[in-house]
């Protein structure tokens, strides 16, 4: 089944989206720590794990910056086709500062409701 990753440290937001994705029957995996996500991605890159269709990456994580994850995914042959949506509360004027690695989409958390995000995710999965 198609799955997605949500890398986000704020617990209340994870709770909201857990319910939203569950209601929509989307298989989602949640990571609160950047390092956890990195480990997982490395496993995917060495074929130990299945890769997700979409990754929703928060920029501000407790241990590292979300950009590192974005870079890791996009600069690897195996994982560069995973859709990466930067999911953040910084305005998209910061988009220019992504060190040359562009996300597939930039989403401002407060400007999107769970319903809208679920819709977007479904569309993106089907589109691919």
């Amino acid at each position: 089944m198609d799955k997605i990753f949500l890398i986000e440290d704020d617990q209340s937001i994870i709770d909201v989206y857990k319910i939203a994705f569950k209601s929509a029957k989307i298989n989602a995996e949640f990571f609160s720590w950047g390092k956890e996500a990195i480990e997982k991605i490395k496993d995917i890159q060495s074929n130990k794990e299945e890769k997700p269709k979409i990754m929703l990456i928060d920029l501000v994580l407790p241990d590292i910056s979300g950009l590192e994850i974005l870079k890791l995914v996009k600069e690897n042959e195996k994982t560069k086709d995973i859709l990466c949506f930067v999911f953040s509360n910084y305005t998209n004027s910061e988009q220019g500062e992504f060190n040359g690695v562009k996300p597939d989409k930039f989403i401002l958390k407060t400007n999107i409701t769970p319903t809208e995000l679920v819709k977007l995710v479904k569309e993106s999965i089907n589109h691919n």
Partner: protein, 553 residues
């Protein structure tokens, strides 16, 4: 003329020179006590030289006459207490001065009196081939000791001051001590040590020359402000030496013809010397001025450099402050929005049945809650946008292929609740073609939302018409039948200040003027234009927005 007379004459010249010193020291001396007392010193030194000279010059009048003159030379001893007083005034240590002076003067007067009236100091004179030597009386050694004692006191005073003095004053005192020491040493040798050995004193006139040199040096140190102009000093000394020599030649002339020639030469050299001294002085002063000027320029340059540094530092501080502010804002953005995300999230889940079916009342309440939350989110967005504008940052990220019609449809949908409640209409006249322009979707939507929301807010009956055109430019026209605007209001509409116009203030207590300011900034960032007009208060308003378009589908 014999040697004896010549020696007398030279001593007269020295006496005269001492007189010049006195005049130079007393001229415009005003209340400078140091100069006045050095003048007295020079005066008594002059007396000494004069009486020495007279001893030689009037030798041909007989031994008694010469002896009388020679005894008078002891008057010169008074120059010692005068010099001591000078050192006290120069070093500023004038406490108990009168008391100390009385002691020295007392002893001096006793010596002078005794030498005039008895032969306790001077016994007799003896003529040699080229010289007159004196034979001392029994009290002569005491006189010498007294003189030495006075000089020791003077030198001690000067030395004490020398160690605490600085700069120019230190140099001055150095000269005094030098001169005094030379006098002491050579004076000692010629008038005390040699006579002690050979039992007669043939070289007492040397003391006259020496005293002139000594007081001359001291006077020079006092009178001249800048001592260290070696050029000036040597020029002057050379000239003086030349003048003295030539002056002497006048006196030593054999006949009138010679005398006239010598006078002529002396005068010529005198004028030339004065001219030379002045020109050298001028040159040295000019050099000093140039140096001073160069220093001033350097000083000014240093100041300018320092000012530059200050400015640079201020700029750097400002920049770092700006960066700090920026960092702070970024952090705030994140912290303000995080809880808002959860609030929007949960309210959305409830409304969409994730927690099961809710009562109509509950849904209504949650809707209101969500509306407030959205309003707060909007405010946070706008606040951050304003600060970004103010920091001069690029607030929009333009992407091609953005369609306008869906954006406005979304806005209309979001405002449906409010318009239905107010009973006014919101019509969108859809264009025939579909338009795509280069825009920042989120920001453009926020701007358009502000304008349309504004129209809705200030319309009490009737409604809002939105039209999209594309004749030669891409245009959005938002027309309402609301309270309208006065001329004055139209002018200040898009200002930063929270202008709401008099009518608006009366109608509503809520509302933020910054919405229009933000909208106009966003439109401008899209390289577009925005303006508004109204036929007047109560006659509705029309907002015009122009945007450059890149493609028509």
């Amino acid at each position: 003329m014999d040697i004896i007379k010549i020696r007398g004459i030279t001593l007269f010249v020295v006496a005269l020179l001492n007189l010049f010193l006195v005049l130079a020291l007393w001229y415009k001396s005003k209340k400078d006590k140091a100069r006045i007392w050095l003048g007295y010193t020079a005066l008594f030194s002059g007396f000494y030289a004069f009486f020495c000279g007279a001893t030689y010059f009037f030798w041909d009048k007989g031994m008694e006459v010469s002896l009388g003159w020679y005894k008078a030379t002891w008057l010169g001893v008074l120059l010692l207490p005068c010099f001591i007083v000078f050192t006290y005034y120069f070093t500023g240590k004038t406490k108990n001065l009168y008391l100390k002076a009385i002691v020295f003067y007392g002893i001096s007067f006793v010596i002078v009196y005794l030498s005039f009236t008895t032969d306790l100091f001077v016994k007799s004179l003896r003529l040699n081939a080229y010289n007159i030597s004196s034979l001392a009386g029994p009290l002569d050694p005491f006189g010498r000791v007294f003189i030495l004692f006075c000089l020791a006191i003077s030198i001690t005073n000067l030395l004490k001051e020398y160690f605490t003095a600085e700069g120019f004053r230190k140099i001055q005192i150095r000269y005094f001590i030098l001169g005094t020491s030379i006098f002491v040493v050579t004076g000692m040798i010629t008038t005390s040590i040699i006579p002690f050995i050979i039992k007669e004193s043939p070289y007492y006139d040397i003391a006259a020359y020496l005293s002139f040199v000594w007081i001359g040096l001291t006077s020079y140190a006092i009178l001249k402000y800048k001592l260290m102009d070696i050029k000036i000093i040597t020029t002057e000394l050379f000239s003086f030496a030349l003048w003295i020599t030539l002056a002497l030649k006048i006196f030593l002339s054999e006949n009138s013809q010679d005398r006239i020639i010598n006078i002529g030469v002396f005068l010529a050299v005198l004028f030339f010397g004065i001219f030379l001294i002045r020109s050298v002085t001028k040159e040295v002063r000019q050099k000093e001025q140039l140096e001073k000027l160069a220093k001033e320029i350097e000083g000014a340059y240093e100041k300018e450099k320092a000012a530059h540094e200050v400015e640079k530092k201020a700029r750097e501080e400002l920049e770092s402050l700006g960066r700090a502010k920026n960092q702070f804002l970024l952090a705030i953005q994140h912290h303000l929005r995080t809880p808002l995300t959860a609030m929007i999230g949960y309210s959305d889940l409830i409304l969409n049945g994730a927690y099961g079916k809710q009562s109509k009342k509950m849904l209504e309440v949650i809707n209101k809650f969500q509306a407030s939350t959205k309003s707060l989110i909007k405010m946070v967005n706008e606040f951050l946008d304003i600060t970004q504008f103010q920091l001069g940052k690029e607030v929009v990220n333009l992407i091609s292929g953005i369609e306008i019609e869906p954006i406005i449809s979304e806005i209309a949908e979001e405002l449906k609740f409010e318009t239905e409640k107010k009973g006014i209409y919101l019509k969108l006249q859809k264009p025939e073609k579909l338009f795509a322009i280069k825009a920042d979707r989120e920001k453009l939507k926020a701007a358009l939302y502000n304008i349309i929301d504004n129209a809705v807010k200030y319309t009490l009956k009737g409604g809002v018409d939105i039209k999209i055109e594309s004749k030669d430019v891409f245009k959005i026209i938002i027309k309402d039948t609301g309270i309208g605007m006065s001329q004055n209001h139209q002018k200040n509409l898009f200002n930063k200040t929270f202008e709401r116009g008099e009518e608006a203030k009366k109608t509503f207590t809520t509302g933020r003027g910054i919405g229009l300011y933000i909208a106009s900034e966003i439109i401008k960032a899209h390289k577009g234009k925005i303006w508004a007009d109204s036929e007047g208060e109560g006659k509705g308003s029309t907002f015009h927005i122009e945007l450059p378009y890149e493609a028509i589908n």
